[in-house]
Amino acid sequence: MRVGVIDYGVGNLSSVLRAIEELRVVPVLVTRAMELSSIDRMILPGVGNFSDCAALLAAGGWVAAIADEAKGKGKPLLGICVGMQLLADYSSEGSDVPGQKTAGLGLIPGRVDHLASLGCNLRVPHVGWNEIRVQGSAEVLLTGIPQTTDFYFVHSFAFVPDDPADVVAVTDYGVEFAAVVRRGNVWGTQFHPEKSSRAGLRVLGNYIRGPAC
């Protein structure tokens, strides 16, 4: 099993890499899009600004490569935080022009919006530990995770999938938003599993060791 962490130029990959090592798996740092074909499970991290991340994905030739592997070959993909948001069609983040949108990977139909514009009137960013509520049947990714388990969140924007069926778990912070999404072999967590202590390591372990979809 080759678990690849996509290094497309954003910082802070060491936490994800260390968490995977903690699960006794040697992660592969994937620095070129062409290397993705040799990976069995892809992890797309993301930190900071959606449009900056999207620009880096485009510049590195990652957009087509990731779509090819995830959509074309059905290879598992897990997006974390902004990496999850990048799975969407577009985001309103990062544009200096109001109303302008930045395109995402379009692997899970939906949009990314600021928490405040979704109705949250609490302090933003949403920083800290918050609980998730699993909707519907227990998912592979959340095996062993009880309802209301706390995970570590740090974000100002949230993913709103077009199809509610793509939302696996929700979290409430002034507004209910998607904490975990899934469409087929493509997963995303708004929280940081690599920084959510043992609960997060369990989620990463589920992804790495679970069935492909």
Binding site: G11, S15, D52
Partner: protein
């Protein structure tokens, strides 16, 4: 519901952890790495690690040490001290820091917070503000680990760092630091009202009740503390029990459930 975080603050000076009173009279506490390991095992909510002498040299943060410290940390770690350039931030994030605390550089390099926020997101920047009381309900901000009065009022400065893109404020009362006599509640309340980003109360915690009042009466989003954890029997887990008993939501340690099949 979002939980109130209890955050141990680790002050790091050359070879180990220290803790002082009023940003002075430093006592040795012990080595850094075992402290981080223990806090990680006990599943603390977050760790703040501040190098209190890094600003005295031109070399910037000690990246190699931080990489070693972060390797065993699976909870969020905020790192501060000696950061003056965006390159420092990138290297710290690569070394395992999750958030960057900026203090002195925010005064000296006005564009730094905005640059970090633009490059890595507002959630990555924790503006650390150290203050001393000037008179009733007025506080001045100090840079260089509390040694230099910037002349800035905390309300104005808190607003400014928020506008520049800080995602959180770590608000430390130098007057209360190490005193264990309780947080400066008017200070926390003043800043929490001034800004819409989370405010972490710091400086003065001596018992669990101090933490309860910082949250309930002053509006802190999180409580940071050092002496109480270094020098007393009180623990982050105990603090969270006390907060919960007072009706404040806290995070519980993870309990795995057996697989369904």
């Amino acid at each position: 519901m979002l939980k109130v975080r209890v955050i141990p603050t680790l002050l790091w000076k050359q070879f180990g952890l220290v803790k002082g009173v009023g940003f002075d009279s430093w006592r040795r506490v012990g080595p850094v790495l075992p402290a981080i390991k223990v806090y990680n095992q006990r599943e603390v909510d977050e760790i703040v690690l501040l190098d209190i002498v890094a600003h005295q040299t031109a070399q910037g943060p000690e990246f190699e040490s931080i990489e070693e410290f972060g390797g065993d940390c699976f909870v969020p770690m905020t790192v501060g001290g000696g950061i003056t350039r965006i390159e420092h931030v990138q290297k710290l994030l690569r070394a395992g820091a999750d958030k960057i605390s900026v203090n002195t550089a925010a005064y000296e390099t006005p564009g730094l917070i905005a640059e970090i926020a633009k490059r890595h997101g507002t959630q990555c920047v924790v503006a650390s503000i150290d203050v001393r009381a000037r008179d009733n309900w007025r506080w001045n901000c100090f840079s260089h680990a509390g040694s230099n009065d910037t002349g800035r009022d905390v309300r104005q400065w808190a607003r400014e760092v928020q506008d520049r893109g800080a995602g959180e404020i770590l608000l430390t009362s130098i007057d209360r630091d190490g005193s264990m006599t309780g947080y400066d509640l008017p200070l926390i309340e003043t800043v929490a009202r001034e800004v819409s980003i989370p405010v972490i109360a710091s400086g003065g915690a001596g018992n669990y009740l101090h933490m309860v009042t910082a949250v309930r009466e002053a509006g802190a989003s999180a409580v940071a503390a050092a002496s109480i954890f270094h020098f007393t029997e009180q623990t982050p887990a105990g603090a969270k029990q006390a907060l919960e008993a007072a009706g404040i939501p806290v995070r519980h340690p993870f309990r795995e459930v057996a697989d369904a099949c």
